[in-house]
């Protein structure tokens, strides 16, 4: 097990290193931030002075080296726009995004798995067919449109829920969170459901497919032949088997949740990383974009690592292969 984790850790470091290279040089191709920052009337001397101040007059490989050295010290550069450290800017907005993403994940698992298992156990009932049709809608309706419709119905017409913002936050371990106050929760609900819709459909379908496959296995019939209650057969014997694909996909899709939150955050004016990155891309604020991408890469790599470890906890057969490897 520890050999497995160490090996995966080294692979992860290699991925981060390669990504930093691609991100850094890729962003240089996109455009020159000086054009955006400087007054169009400025003369050559002003432009050069500005470029020198930002370190943009040095050759790209030198800038990369400088970036790497600083990155190791935990410094990902200063925002051209805000003048604040890029990392700090992102970290300030991260809790909002993570809260939203976790809330969405929680909803999609909490609703998706029971729906999927139910329709897998009773595939021919009307309820099951309704669930399946619903999941097609969840897949195919665009997130931003659903978000706008939700605001229309629940905020504008019915007036039940607030349309934008985070609401009242309270600190939890020094991090501001919304879900602990009633006001915050009412602000969180709509964006979380909006972001969760796609994943919920995915989880429902995975759980249903898994259930339908597993219930016909001999070991399920054997479990019933042992005289176990239907409850235990479903909750232990079926559920633990279908969790293997579900956990894999949920884990891999968690990065997607954070990425997709860009859309939801824009629609609901949720003050998270997604909004920041959209603004930074518009202003070509290189350090913020690079820092955001690096953090996203780190998150993806970490999530994948966690999923692999979790997977081996769920599926004992994976564990054995690692001992052999």
């Amino acid at each position: 097990m520890s050999v497995f984790v160490i090996r995966r850790l080294m692979q992860s470091i290699a991925v981060v290193a390669v990504m930093s290279f691609i991100v850094f040089f890729g962003i240089h191709i996109v455009g020159d931030p000086v054009d955006m920052l400087i007054n169009p009337e400025a003369d050559q001397a002003d432009i050069e002075a500005a470029m020198h101040a930002l370190g943009l007059d040095r050759p790209a490989h030198e800038q990369y080296w400088y970036f790497l050295v600083n990155a190791f010290k935990g410094d990902l550069g200063r925002s051209f726009i805000f003048g604040e450290p890029a990392l700090q800017l992102i970290v300030q907005r991260m809790p909002a995004t993570l809260e939203l993403a976790f809330a969405a994940l929680f909803l999609s698992v909490l609703i998706g798995i029971p729906l999927g298992v139910y329709s897998g156990l009773h595939p021919d009932t009307l309820a099951s067919k309704t669930i399946m049709s619903g999941s097609i809608l969840g897949f195919s309706l665009p997130t931003f449109w659903v978000g706008l419709m939700m605001i229309m119905v629940f905020a504008v017409i019915l007036g039940w829920l607030p349309s934008t913002g985070r609401g009242e936050t309270v600190p939890l371990f020094g991090i501001p969170v919304s879900f602990l106050t009633l006001d915050g929760l009412s602000h969180l609900l709509m964006p979380a459901v909006n972001l969760a819709l796609f994943k919920m459909s995915l989880v429902t379908r995975l759980a249903r497919a898994g259930t339908r496959e597993v219930v016909h296995q001999d070991y399920i019939k054997f479990a019933r032949a042992k005289g176990l209650s239907p409850r235990r057969v479903v909750l232990v014997h079926v559920l633990k088997n279908i969790m293997i694909p579900v956990v894999t996909v949920i884990g891999l899709e968690f990065g997607g949740l954070i990425a997709f939150s860009v859309v939801t955050e824009s629609v609901f004016a949720w003050p998270g990383m997604g909004k920041l990155i959209i603004e930074s891309i518009q202003n070509l604020d290189r350090p913020v974009i690079v820092a955001y991408l690096m953090i996203t890469v780190l998150m993806f790599v970490t999530i994948n690592l966690v999923v692999d470890v979790l997977y081996s906890v769920l599926d004992p057969r994976v564990r054995l292969q690692d001992i052999r490897a």
Partner: protein
């Protein structure tokens, strides 16, 4: 437990599958009984209804199948129409089943320990420690070395033969009155097969457990069972004491089956083959189901033969049983 009543008596059991294409009579008017410490061999080809008979007794026939008639008397109680709650208390407790493929019967993601302990805990009010001890003892009984360590293992860490032993240990956990073994040795190699057969017989005799041993292999039950029922197309075609049936089969199908087993006494002679194939059970034509493949078939066989008793201790479903002495 009734002292004289058989552990299990099945009477005119009918299990039909209601498919879109029609009714499949997988089990049709099957009757037999098993006493304490007795082993009944249920022999037949694939699709002859052996396994469905086993599942019918446990009340585990899945839709679109259903037990549509007959009595299943277990220790004097009719369980053919018992409710699910009653069946749940019997399954794994008084009636246990061992499945054909040991690679598929154990849940791959649960420890052997969990799968054994839940069987005890589902039926008895004991604490987890006692349940674990029972599980360990049962593993020891079926000949699994160092059972304490093996309990914590997962099914994939066992070989096929060992997994079948685990399945047998699970069946034994609650000391059942009846064990239904559905071709438990088919997937195993011959040496393991012999060990399992020996142990099954020993346990049956020692504990007085009644056993139904389902198989397609006459050789397997030749030394194991006390009596045998030969099934063909969902019906019992011949039943009797195992030695007598093997020595003097009277139904043409049984005769064909025995004739097609390789034997040392007929070296060099080509093996007998039953011509044709098992009929599809869907919309079986009227009359004797074996008619088309039978060398003795004539006009009489267009009607359905009843179960007759040509001589004491034998039942046969045929108009032309082979009654001359010697085979």
């Amino acid at each position: 437990m009734g002292s004289n009543a058989p552990t299990l008596r099945v009477e005119d059991l009918k299990t039909h599958f209601f498919t879109k294409a029609g009714v499949v009579k997988a089990v049709d008017n099957v009757s037999f009984s098993v006493d304490r410490a007795q082993i009944l061999g249920l022999v037949g080809e694939s699709g002859s209804g052996k396994t469905v008979t086993g599942f019918s007794i446990l009340g585990l026939v899945d839709a679109p199948g259903r037990v549509v008639g007959g009595r299943i008397e277990f220790n004097g109680e009719d369980i053919a129409n018992a409710d699910e709650g009653r069946m749940q208390t019997l399954r794994g407790n008084r009636i246990a089943m061992i499945f054909q493929d040991p690679m598929m019967t154990l849940n791959p993601v649960l420890r052997v320990e969990t799968q054994m302990m839940e069987t005890v805990l589902a039926h008895q009010k004991v604490d987890r420690k006692t349940a674990r001890q029972r599980a360990r003892d049962a593993l020891g009984q079926v000949g699994i070395p160092s059972p304490d360590e093996r309990l914590a293992a997962y099914p994939h860490q066992f070989s096929g033969g060992m997994r079948q032993r685990v399945a047998i240990a699970i069946a034994l956990l609650n000391d059942p009155d009846l064990i239904i073994a559905d071709e438990p040795t088919t997937a195993l190699d011959v040496t393991i097969q012999a060990q399992i057969l020996f142990e099954a017989q020993k346990l049956c005799r020692e504990r007085g457990t009644a056993m139904i041993w389902i198989t397609h292999d006459l050789a397997v039950i030749a030394g194991l069972a006390d009596k045998v029922c030969v099934m063909y197309a969902g019906r019992i075609v011949e039943a009797g004491a195992i030695d007598e049936v093997l020595d003097h089969p009277v139904h043409p199908y049984t005769r064909g089956l025995i004739g097609s087993v390789p034997s040392r006494n007929r070296r060099g002679v080509p093996l007998y083959q039953i011509p044709g194939m098992t009929p599809a059970l869907l919309n079986l034509p009227p009359g004797c189901a074996f008619r088309e493949r039978c060398p003795q078939a004539d006009g009489a066989c267009m009607a359905e033969p009843g179960l007759s008793v040509p001589f004491d201790g034998r039942a046969v479903r045929c108009f032309h049983p082979h009654l001359e002495a010697g085979a």
